[in-house]
Amino acid sequence: MTSTEKANQLREQFGDLISEPSEFRGEVTIELGDVQRIAEVCAYAKKEQGFDYLVDLSSVDNYGDDPRFTLVYELYGYGHGCHLRLKADLSEEVGEAPTVTGVWRTADWHEREVYDMMGIRFAGHPDLRRILMWEGYPFYPLRKDFPLAGRPTDMPDVAFSDKAPLEGGPFVTSAGAQDAEAGEPRAKQVD
């Protein structure tokens, strides 16, 4: 059974929710009308159609368009060797999609990454924390309105965006110190 037949099977099951499959460079893509039903469709695709492997979950920011975000699910079945791409649009106001961690456990980290980079939340995710950026980082770097050069961000007690102190920093040896101990590269009281 080919990917297109699988896609049409999904269409039979879910009706108008799923768009006509389109093919580009030998890959079949279907779009989902309602992102809130993605988990249901994925569960069906895994259980009934043998898509047992979620290859990748990524997100696209169509900045300036509405709906702003697109979620992209790459599905693969080891049994039949077919690849299928599922896409679902998501507006910025909603900003939340149901999790598919209940379908494939590999979705856990993929969804955390999408949340971290694009700011899309996943309802029902067991542990939705930032994964690549640190906890408490205020921005979503892969959004198109985030500048390439980044934005200065402080991390209290750990990192700062000011110039590093030349004297007395934890990695700087004090050359003119009285003795070896005072010259050690340790944090020192600044006058």
Partner: protein
């Protein structure tokens, strides 16, 4: 004058009685579970992976992996430059096998551009040589470091000697030892140097001896077996559910290799086998990598024999830079050169996902293009990132000392995981 204190040392029976007094009715030790912070700079975490372990005695009850210490925003960077300019960044994904990353990325862009069918036979064979050389190099390090982590330091020295020879070959081929940036969209940056294939054949004869030696040191080594057999076991179903790929998937008995299942380049014309494990423990993953190196050497020998002549680049000025002397004399080539350098190749709008079988697993690129020379979105599906997500499921129940063996057997690279 310092005073001397009398220290009371109880005998073993008295200490056992004291310990028994500390146990409550259920036989548990009093007190809380201990939290151990492993990494980010720990020799066994092969980079900057941090794992917070919750321990009950020596048994792990909970593991929280923490990644991202090496995050450089590669995907964001990719959106702001041409496709060709991003090639050097792919060196820095899996930095133990940069050539394989170069090839995977070039193939993904070529698929999007629709020129993957036009690649010249010579280019395809050289790319296979690159991939397999990178695989041997990556597995030599992976196995050496794994063996060293579980106590067999000698193997590491053996495998590193061979890697050095690979780096010499790569330096001669690409001009750089690590940061190869060898492929271009539609071809390669340069052809093989004279006499390079003879050096490669000589190396393959030498490395064969090294494989045998390393295998002798490990495969029947009782200490190595004790440390790795029945440790870190996951079933085929779990491996698929967690999206494991590469040797980590095949170690659990799933016979799947992208080179066979969806052949790219000329893999369908070459003869090789896919080794699989039977139990899914650390030892099986070691055996799979060992055999994969032998298969790679076998592939390389076939490529040396079958390597055809001819050009290495696609004959299409819209994607490949023209030869320099034509740029200076011909109008059309000058325009092509100008357009390619200033705006990048004219890639059509659309989206593709292309994955290659890299040493660590399935390295995939999802490219979403709105047309023109830069991607609208480039997502890197990094095998190390996905392979590590199993840790919080796999580690609990194991001993602390097994963590080192499990991490070594998963063979990840943080440059690729964190991107």
């Amino acid at each position: 004058m310092s005073t001397v204190k009398e220290i009371e040392i109880k005998d073993a029976a008295a200490r056992a009685a004291d310990a028994a007094a500390d146990l409550d009715e259920d036989g548990d030790m009093h007190g809380e579970k201990m939290v151990l912070n492993m990494g980010p700079s720990h020799p066994a975490t092969h980079g900057v992976l941090r794992i917070t372990l919750e321990l009950d005695g020596e048994v792990i009850t909970k593991a929280i992996p923490d990644v991202g210490y090496l995050h450089r925003g590669d995907e964001k960077i990719a959106e702001n430059m041409t496709y060709t300019q991003f090639i050097p960044y792919t060196d820095r994904l899996d930095y133990l096998a940069p050539l394989a990353n170069n090839v995977a990325y070039a193939l993904a862009v070529e698929k999007l551009a629709g020129i993957d069918e036009l690649l010249t036979p010579r280019c395809q064979y050289i790319r296979v040589i690159c991939c397999e050389l990178a695989r041997i190099s990556a597995h030599l390090l992976g196995l050496g470091a794994f063996a060293m982590d579980v106590g067999a330091v000698t193997v590491f020295l053996h495998t590193f000697t061979e890697r050095e020879k690979i780096y010499d070959l790569i330096e001669e081929l690409t001009g750089a030892r690590f940061t190869t940036t060898y492929t271009r969209i539609g071809g390669l940056s340069r052809d093989l140097p004279d006499g390079w294939l003879a050096k490669l054949s000589k190396f393959l004869d030498q490395v064969q001896v090294n494989f045998d030696e390393s295998e002798k040191l490990l495969s029947r080594n009782p200490i190595f077996q004790d440390r790795t057999k029945d440790v870190g076991v996951y079933s085929a179903e779990e491996a698929i559910d967690f999206g494991m790929t590469g040797p980590n998937l095949r170690g659990s008995g799933v016979e799947f290799d992208l080179r066979k299942a969806h052949p790219y380049l000329v893999y369908d014309q070459l003869d090789f086998e896919i080794p699989v494990g039977s139990k899914g423990d650390c030892y099986d993953r070691y055996l799979v990598r060992m055999e994969e190196m032998r298969q790679s050497a076998h592939l390389l020998k076939q490529c040396i024999k079958a390597l055809p002549g001819g050009p290495i680049n696609v004959d299409d000025g819209k994607f490949v830079l023209p030869v320099k002397n034509k740029v200076l004399t011909s109008m059309e080539e000058l325009i092509h050169q100008f357009m390619l350098v200033t705006q990048g190749g004219n890639i059509p709008p659309g989206e593709v996902y292309f994955a290659a079988e890299n040493p660590k697993g399935e390295l995939g690129f999802y490219i979403n293009s709105k047309g023109g020379g830069t991607p609208h979105r480039l997502k890197i599906r990094a095998p190390s990132f996905v392979n590590l997500s199993i840790l919080s499921h796999l580690l609990p129940g194991n001993m602390v000392s097994d963590v080192v063996a499990i991490l070594g057997s998963l063979d990840f690279v943080m440059g690729e995981c964190d991107r």
